[in-house]
């Protein structure tokens, strides 16, 4: 059954009490509580908090609460996401600054982070005049930022236990393909011959890879906050893992993330060569274009399986969202792109 989401007033009252306790504040006022995204299990709340500290100092913070209604198996915990955001910030990746790790006051794990202003809606970023300057700069910026993501040391930041990595004795490519194939076989309500062809193609061409790095895992338009001056912040680290850095470069180029700007493979704003050049110049790993191509084919398969997964949440009655229901029909666009990529290879 779909779970009832807490009302903004209920969440606001709980956050007020939590902030008052955590800051040992004289008073706290929470305003403008809004649910930004509410999945079946995970929610993002936006609010403003005015905190009057014990020393009389007062400040107003623009904050985001990331909460789990229930823990989903295989999903990154909020605690791990919090530590990952801290580590990424320390390495110079533009991310929202974390504010406080939560407790049990929302009845589910959560943390608070800074709310970064800007635009996340792809259609506006790609079409509005306001972002013309940003579009010119984004390809290079996205390469530079990714170089910083891949520099985040798993060991030094103690993230090894938080992140999934390659299976024992297997390369990142082999491991990720095995995982996505397993997911596909366990959730797809019907057969998909196009995915069978793609899996066969991918298995025959797995790239060797160098030293694994931190991989963001969902680095694309929609998960980036953009201002008129360019990229402000990288969001949505829940799919981060240890793997092949080429995976992130390729995912950014998956056709669905071009939102109609098909001729500009990098997020609908730029060319692959310019992305690769900026990435390498900023200290990223040496780019293997053939491996990136393999990961782009893989990325289309992965997004196709994610479409099925989201439709499953509707089919299984976890959500009644019309968006989740219709996303099942987007699977065909990934099949089409897979066939195009296999045919042109």
């Amino acid at each position: 059954m779909p779970r009832k989401t807490a009302t903004p007033d209920e969440v606001g009252a709980k956050l007020t009490a939590f902030l008052k306790r955590s800051h040992n504040a004289k008073s706290v006022r929470v305003d403008d509580v809004r649910l930004l995204t509410g999945g079946a299990s995970r929610q993002t709340w936006s609010f403003d908090a005015t905190i009057e500290h014990a020393d009389g100092r007062s400040e107003t913070l623009a904050l985001i609460a990331r909460a789990d209604q229930r823990q989903t198996v295989g999903m990154m915990t909020r605690d791990a996401e919090y530590r990952l955001l801290e580590a990424a910030h320390a390495e110079g990746v533009p991310v929202p600054r974390v504010h406080l790790m939560g407790d049990d006051s929302l009845g589910a794990p959560f943390f608070l982070m800074e709310r970064v202003d800007g635009e996340t809606i792809a259609r506006r970023i790609l079409r509005d005049d306001e972002y013309e300057g940003a579009r010119q700069k984004m390809t290079a910026q996205l390469g530079e930022i990714l170089a910083a993501v891949h520099r985040v040391s798993i060991e030094r930041h103690g993230l090894a236990n938080d992140l999934a990595g390659p299976l024992a004795g297997k390369s990142p490519a082999e491991s990720e393909l095995q995982r996505i194939e397993g997911t596909f076989r366990s959730i797809a309500p019907e057969p998909h011959p196009a995915f069978e062809l793609a899996i066969r193609w991918l298995k025959a061409r797995r790239p060797a890879s160098g030293e694994p790095t931190l991989v963001h895992g969902d680095y694309r338009l929609g998960n980036l906050i953009i201002g008129p001056e360019g990229v402000r912040s990288v969001l949505d680290w829940e799919l981060a893992h240890v793997g092949d850095p080429m995976e992130d470069l390729a995912w950014l180029c998956v056709r669905s993330w071009r939102f109609g700007n098909d001729q500009l493979p990098v997020a609908g704003v730029g060319q692959r060569e310019d992305l690769f050049r900026a990435y390498e110049a900023a200290g990223g790993r040496q780019v293997d274009a053939a491996a990136v191509h393999w990961w782009e084919v893989f990325g289309n398969l992965r997004w196709g399986v994610f479409c099925i997964m989201q439709a499953r949440a509707y089919l299984d009655g976890l959500s009644k969202s019309v968006e989740l229901a219709t996303i099942g029909r987007r699977t065909a666009e990934t099949e089409w792109e897979l066939l195009n990529l296999m045919e042109s290879a």
Binding site: P193, A194, T326, A332, L339, M342
Partner: protein, 130 residues
């Protein structure tokens, strides 16, 4: 036999209502979901108009790969038989029988045709850009 308006005419009325009354007047995520809902109506209308032809084409494409079989008459039976035949095709691909040669070409072209038919329903604009 039902009276007019036909199912397509009724759905067109719902689509028009969402597009002209709801989408422009409802802000935020509810407006976005109204846009998605109007699009879902469009998908259903296109599917209903092309379904018979698409299912028949998929069946004869599978005949050419798996050998001819009698096509069930009812729509539900046809859907369920197509599903079973697609399981057989999937197993054939998994087993490596469509890796090369004539079978590979036939399978690829068949899959391409059925995916194109799916897109004429779910996202014809994407096909026009291809």
């Amino acid at each position: 036999m039902q009276d007019r308006p036909s199912y397509d005419e009724l759905l067109a009325a719902v689509e028009h209502f969402l597009d002209t009354e709801i989408v422009p007047n409802v802000p935020g995520s509810r407006g976005f979901h109204a846009r998605v809902a109007a699009n879902a109506i469009r998908i259903v209308r296109r599917e209903l108009s092309g379904e018979e032809e698409h299912l028949a084409a998929e069946w004869s494409g599978l005949d050419a790969i798996l050998g001819p079989a009698e096509r069930p008459a009812g729509r539900e039976e046809l859907r369920s038989a197509l599903r079973e035949r697609n399981e057989v095709l999937s197993a054939l691909i998994r087993g490596g029988d469509a890796d090369d040669g004539e079978t590979a070409r036939k399978v690829f072209e068949h899959v391409q045709r059925t995916v194109r038919d799916k897109l004429t329903v779910s996202d014809p604009a994407l096909l026009e850009r291809s």
